[in-house]
Structures are given as C-alpha cells and as structure tokens.
C-alpha cells in the first residue's frame, strides 16, 4: 500500500494554476525524487502533502497519507506532521528561530512528538553533530551544521515519512554531499520513506529509486531512476539530464601569448577590532596570493564557500582594495579600488545573481551604457553602436534596449549582464559564479555563449566557481583556494585526475556521480 497518494492535485493562486492535475503514489519505504526547475510546482507539492500551503493557495484534489485523507482540522494536521512526517527545508539560514538555542528547538520537536525516549544529544549525534552544539544559537553554526539541526528536528518524532525540499542547494559542494549522504544513511537505517525535492538531476539520481519530473506545474513523467538516465522518454527529461554533463571545450594554446595580469602577494585582511575591543588578529580573507593570467586564458578559481575567492575577484576587478601586495595589468600596477579610470574598461565583472545586477528603474540600454562613461572619447553614434553590438553578441535583439529588467527571464538577464561586461571591450572578464543561480536547462546555453564570445573577442576569463564540472569543462587552468590561500593549481585534467591537496581531494570526493 502506498504511504502517500496524490490524486488530481491542482493548486491555484488567484485563479492561475501553479500545479495542475498531479497524481502520484509513493510506496512505503520508497525514496522518491521530485525534480523540476523553478516554478515547476515541486515545492508546492511538498507543502500540499504537509498541509503547509500558503493561505492564498486554493487546492483541489485528494491527498491520502497512510490510506487516510489528510485531516482538514488544523490541530489534527499539525499532530500528523508532529508525529509522522519530518520536513527539511531549503534555507537553513532562515528556517531556524534566530533567538532560540538549537537544542531547545529540537527539544520542542521532541515534546510535540510526545517522544519521551529520545534525547537531544542522541539526535545531534545521529546527524553527526557534537552534543555541545545544543546550547548554540543558529547564527553560531555553519550552513551545513544548521541543516543537520534541521534534520535532527525532522527525526525527532521518528517519522514514517521525511520530506526534504532542496535541502542542499544553499550549501557548498562538500557540505552538500555530506548532507545527502547523511539523509541516505538515515533513511536506510530507519527504513523511512523519503520524498526528495531538487532541481539537480544528479542529486536525485544519487538518492532516489524513482523520480517524478515536473515542468511548469505539470507532471512530465514518473519513472524509476535508471530509466530516467538511460531511456528518458520525454524530451524535457532528456534536456535535464543533458544539462548535467558538460562537454569539455578545446584548450587554448597559450604558449606564445604574453602576460595580461599578474597578482603578487595580494592580501586582504579585515580588521576585527572595534573601538573598544581587545586586540584580535585580523581576518585574512585573502592571504598572500600570487599568480599570473595569460592573455586568452580561461583561469578558474575554485574552493568552498568562505574561502576568499569572491573577495579576490572583487579586488582584481577594482571593487575592493588589497591590504598588501600589488596587481599589474598591462604594466600598470594597482591595488584594487585605485585601478586608474582609463584602465577600468579593460577589466569587467559579471555577477552571480542576475536579479540584483540591474537597476529596476533604468532601461536596459541605460544600464548597459553605464560602463561607457569610462570611454569619454566615444561619440554618441559609437556608443549607440557599442550597445547594439554588445546586446546582439549575446544573442538578444537591439530593440530590447528600451525595455526594463523585469521584462526578462533569469537566463536573459545573465546574457544582458554579460553584454554589459563586454560593452567596454575589456580584455579580462571576471565571472563570479556565472551560472549557479540559473536553472539547469539554461546553464549550458550561457556557457556556450561565454565560450563563443571568448574566441570571438579574444577575451581572457577568470571564473570563480564551486562547480567542478563546469570548471573542468571551461578552464585551461584551475586554482584551488582554501582559507585565503591558493593551495593547488594546474590544468583541470591533471589536477582532477591526481589531486594532491586534501581540499582538492575532498572536492573531488564530493562530486556526485555522473549520470551516464
């Protein structure tokens, strides 16, 4: 008998369907994956099963848990959640009460489950945390630790079903893998049913026996995991699977190219001393980093979150300044924000988040034209020409220049962000996680675009990322960074085949298995 049965579930917001006619049956003990891109309705499905849909949602259809209809009474539904369903949400940052010690929050879950046997310490141990963490506040824990606390809370009632909604997408690679392994291990040990919701086909494949693929609120197909990978019936599923693998691009021959940027002993320290505080050693976000970038090269910088890679990118781009050390571009030395105005056009930066990178009150044309202030000699006609050239080079139409940012999708915005980075015809483009905020299906296209632009304009790329597969595909050379230092460097092939440093090894180990 199925533990969870969904029949013809439709969820509307203000009359518009966000999920239409979904029917699923999830067997006891099964590990079931729901995969889809943003807006596919996958999270709504989880909320519907747990009775946590927002007030504005109008749901029709039938959901049965353990053969019984979900209770309509709020108290009974809450009791059901408290005793039989455990839930792990996406954002460990905000999903815990910031004002309450985590031990108390777990204890509360134990209380609500009327479970007298289990103890907070035992639960913490089960999720791999020392019991001393119980007295901490959420902000005193790392993202991975917080997510473990969430899992401990979900386990408190010894539930029949655990629902994990994108539990790892806010975590870095290594932590992500550990949390996934933990979930798998616990499900095995406790013989729990799992519903795992993700946009990442590989994570789903690594964890689940069966997968439902959702697209724009509709079920595409429900298939056993192996079938998805080997013989995806639907074209959309195929596309999702394809997006997980990237064909390596041809390496560039850089032997006769000259030096573009050299970084020497760059350190960025943040003072932690306040007006009255005792002396504390400064925080070394970037610690004595030196490397060269050759013209035409694609250099990648990888590392876990907080390793200092973004700080380094901002220093190189001139947004932040090094505490010590110098950088030289085209024999012009600088330290960061003191990058001379006439040189600023040579370096540009593409940001991670396509939604925050455009001023909603300016037209795309005005935003794209902003960097042209660095080239005051340009005639108005030339400027116009530059804009058209830039927007067309990223595959968009010149008529879009008069539109506003909210009229574009995430993928289009990232193209526009790239266009803005190109408008001054820079030589070095720093790309900070250029695709990680995009839906998987458009990542490939954006990477293709980047590759094409590089060869077309002879650009040099410095790519900041935690995504080893993307790096392996794009980069000529990879540097691995940990705690502000570069710990290992080399071509992706040699580096990934034979990692020396423990971090590189950990990164490699955390990679989810390829699908094919």
């Amino acid at each position: 008998m199925s533990l969870v049965e969904i029949e013809n579930l439709t969820i509307r917001f203000g009359g518009r369907p966000a999920l239409s006619g979904l029917s699923l049956a999830i067997a006891r003990g099964e590990r079931f994956g729901i995969v889809g891109e943003s807006g596919s309705g996958k999270s709504l499905t989880a909320l519907a099963i747990t009775g946590l849909l927002p007030d504005a949602a109008e749901a029709t259809g039938v959901i049965r848990f353990d053969g019984k209809l979900l209770p309509t009474d709020e108290r009974a539904m809450a009791a059901l959640r408290g005793h039989r369903i455990g839930i792990v949400f996406q954002e460990p940052m905000t999903a815990l009460n910031p004002l309450m010690r985590v031990g108390a929050q777990i204890d509360e879950a134990l209380d609500l489950a009327d479970s007298s046997t289990r103890e907070v310490a035992a639960l913490l141990q089960e999720v791999g945390l020392d019991s001393s963490h119980a007295i901490r506040f959420p902000h005193q824990l790392s993202g991975g630790q917080r997510q473990r606390v969430m899992i401990a809370m979900a386990l408190a009632s010894d539930p029949d079903l655990i629902i994990a909604d994108e539990p790892t997408s806010a975590l870095d690679v290594i932590t992500q893998r550990r949390v996934l392994d933990l979930i798998a291990e616990i499900c095995d040990r406790r013989q729990m049913t799992l519903i795992f919701i993700s946009h990442d086909m590989r994570a789903v494949a690594a964890l689940c026996n069966r997968v439902a693929v959702l697209k724009a609120g509709e079920l595409v197909e429900t298939v056993p995991t192996e079938d998805v990978l080997r013989r995806p019936k639907a074209a959309y599923t195929q596309a999702l699977v394809d997006a997980t693998q990237m064909a390596p691009r041809a390496n560039h021959d850089l032997s006769d190219q000259d030096l573009l940027l050299s970084v020497e002993g760059v350190t960025r320290a943040y003072s932690r001393n306040g007006l009255f505080s005792r002396r504390q050693p400064p925080l070394m976000a970037v610690n004595d980093v030196s490397f060269d970038v050759t013209r035409g090269e694609v250099l990648a910088l990888v590392g876990p979150s907080g390793c200092g890679k973004t700080t380094l990118a901002r220093v190189i781009a001139g947004l932040d300044s090094a505490t010590s050390g110098t950088m030289t571009i085209d024999s012009t030395p600088y330290h960061g924000a003191d990058l001379p105005r006439e040189k600023r056009g040579d370096i540009s930066l593409v940001f991670q988040d396509p939604f925050g990178s455009f001023n909603p009150r300016l037209t795309i044309g005005k935003s794209l034209a902003e960097p042209l202030r660095l080239l005051p000699k340009l005639s108005p006609l030339d400027r116009e020409q530059r804009l058209i050239e830039a927007i067309e080079s990223v595959g968009l139409d010149a008529s879009m220049l008069t539109r506003y940012p909210h009229e574009f999708s995430g993928g289009q915005r990232q193209r526009l962000a790239i266009a803005r980075a190109l408008v001054t015809r820079p030589r070095l483009v720093v790309l900070d996680e250029p695709v990680s905020a995009l839906d998987v299906s458009v990542r490939g296209a954006v990477l293709d675009l980047l590759a094409r632009l590089q060869s077309q304009f002879g650009l040099t790329y410095l790519i900041i990322s935690h995504d080893l597969d993307m790096v392996a595909a794009m980069a000529d050379r990879v540097m691995v960074m940990e705690a502000g230092r570069i710990v290992e460097a080399g071509s992706p092939k040699t580096l990934f085949a034979d990692p020396r440093h423990s971090l590189t090894k950990a990164l490699m180990a955390a990679r989810l298995p390829d699908l094919v």
Partner: protein
C-alpha cells in the same frame, strides 16, 4: 499597475479624501465663502444655515471659510516639515549609507541627538526664539522629521547598495554621490513617499497640539488646531465649534494613514512600516 490601484478600495478612498481636503485648502487661497478676517460680533455663534453652511464662530467668522483656510495651514505646515525633514534627512541617510565610517557615525549621532530632543521642547525653544507661529511648528516638526527620513533612507540605501547593480556602477567609475542619485535614490523613493504620507499625518496632528498650547499658528491666521483651541472653552455651550475642526483633523489623518498603508502595499509589499515617525503625537 492599474488593476493594483483598483483592487485597493482603501487606498482610493484615502487618496481621494486626502486630495479632497488638500484641494479644499488650496481653494481657500483664491476663494472662501467669506474672508476669514471678516469679523462680525453681531452674527457670532450662528448655527449652520444656507448663508453659513457650517455656522459661525465666536467672532462671527464663517466656519466653512475657517476650516478651508485652517486645512490649508495644517497641510502646509505638515508638508513644509516634510520638505525640511526629507530634504535634510534623505541626503544624510544616503551619505551615511554610501560613505559609511565616520560619516555614518556622525549621521547616527545626529539622529540620536535629534531624537533626544522631544519635538515639543524644540517647539517651545523655537517659539521663544522667534515668537510663536506656524513657522516654528514647521521647524520643530521638520527637525523631528529629519532623523526619521535619515533612518528610512539609510536603511533602504544599505539594502540596495548590497545589490550587484551598485557594484556594477562602481566598476563603471561612477562616483558615490552619482551612485546615490542614479541608483539608490530612485529605488528608495517609494519608501520615502510612504513615510512622507505618514509624516504628513503626524505633522498635522503635531501642529494641532502645538497650536493647542499656543505655540503654533497665531491669529489672524488659522489652523485646525487653533480652531480647536479657540473653541475648547466654549465646548459646553457651543460644542459644534470644537467638533467641526476636530472631525476635520481626524478625517484628514485617517485618510492619509489609509493612503499611506495602501501606497506601501502597492509600491512595494515588502516595505517595512516605519512607525518610528509616528510617536510624536
């Protein structure tokens, strides 16, 4: 956008009532049924009639004319105080947000200082300095408004300056003031507009309070607060003289508040209300 406006009956009502009163006030600049300086003891305390729709006051002046003119004064005081408050507070808040460091520290201290002087004390001191009058109500309320707007502007600007387009503008070589003008200000404008409607209602109430204790508007000018003050001794004999301006104040303030709430919902549903500015009464 249009549908959003239509879906908000409260906003429409609030805006309509606010504008109606504002227009009534503006109309008094060019026309009132009777001149407000037209005193005639013989016809005082007249009840509402076709000649005097709202009756006459203790000096025989036409109540409707007084309410029109008083509304104008109340709005003018509130609005001028907002211009002072926003005109100084917003640049200060923006400066604090974009420069940080000592500038921010100074602005925060200045905010503390301005908050530490209760506006009524400022009003008393200014009244003694320059003589009582609407101008000193404007200044006292204006000074109170400065830190309110500074906080709103700083908070909004800090949120926005973490967004990538601000970093992009810095890469494009824009100076900090230019970034503040081009990127921050337009994006916190809705915050400021919403706060302004709240401060307008606060200002109108505060003007009434100041006039009530004799620090605000002085005759022969009139304001709704002054009318209340003049009428309060007569409350047991001629209650209408108090009820009319009192109702006008309440309706205007409620209308502005409803409009402010609605505007916030429409302009940016995520905006946090700044009730800070309301604790001035």
């Amino acid at each position: 956008m249009r549908t959003a406006w239509m879906r908000h009956p409260g906003l429409m009502l609030g805006l309509a009532a606010s504008f109606a009163f504002a227009l009534l006030g503006l109309l008094s600049l060019v026309w009132t049924p009777y001149p407000i300086g037209d005193i005639s003891i013989a016809r005082r305390f007249a009840v509402p009639s076709p000649d005097h729709w709202l009756g006459t006051d203790q000096l025989g002046r036409d109540m409707l004319s007084l309410i029109m003119s008083g509304t104008l004064t109340s709005f003018t005081v509130g609005a001028t105080a907002i211009i002072i408050g926003a005109g100084i507070g917003v640049p200060l808040g923006l400066a604090a947000a974009i420069y940080g460091g000592p500038v921010e520290w100074l602005v925060l201290r200045f905010s503390d200082l301005a908050f530490a002087f209760p506006s009524i004390i400022i009003a008393i001191l200014i009244a003694t300095l320059m003589g009582p009058g609407a101008a000193n109500a404007v200044i006292a309320i204006g000074i109170f408004n400065i830190p309110v707007f500074a906080q709103v502007a700083r908070g909004g600007a800090l949120t926005i300056s973490t967004l990538d387009y601000v970093a992009a503008a810095r890469l494009a070589g824009l100076s900090r003031p230019a970034i503040a003008l081009r990127h921050l200000l337009p994006n916190i404008a809705s915050l400021i507009i919403v706060q302004a409607t709240i401060q307008l209602s606060v200002g109108i109430l505060a003007e009434a309070g100041f006039s009530y204790i004799g620090l605000g508007t002085q005759p022969p000018e009139t304001s709704l607060g002054l009318m209340l003050r003049d009428a309060q001794n007569l409350f047991l004999i001629h209650p209408w003289l108090s009820i009319a301006p009192g109702l006008a104040i309440a309706v205007i303030v409620i209308a502005l508040n409803i409009a402010g709430d609605g505007l916030r919902d429409i302009l940016d549903p995520r905006l946090r209300r700044q009730e800070v500015g309301r604790v001035a009464g």
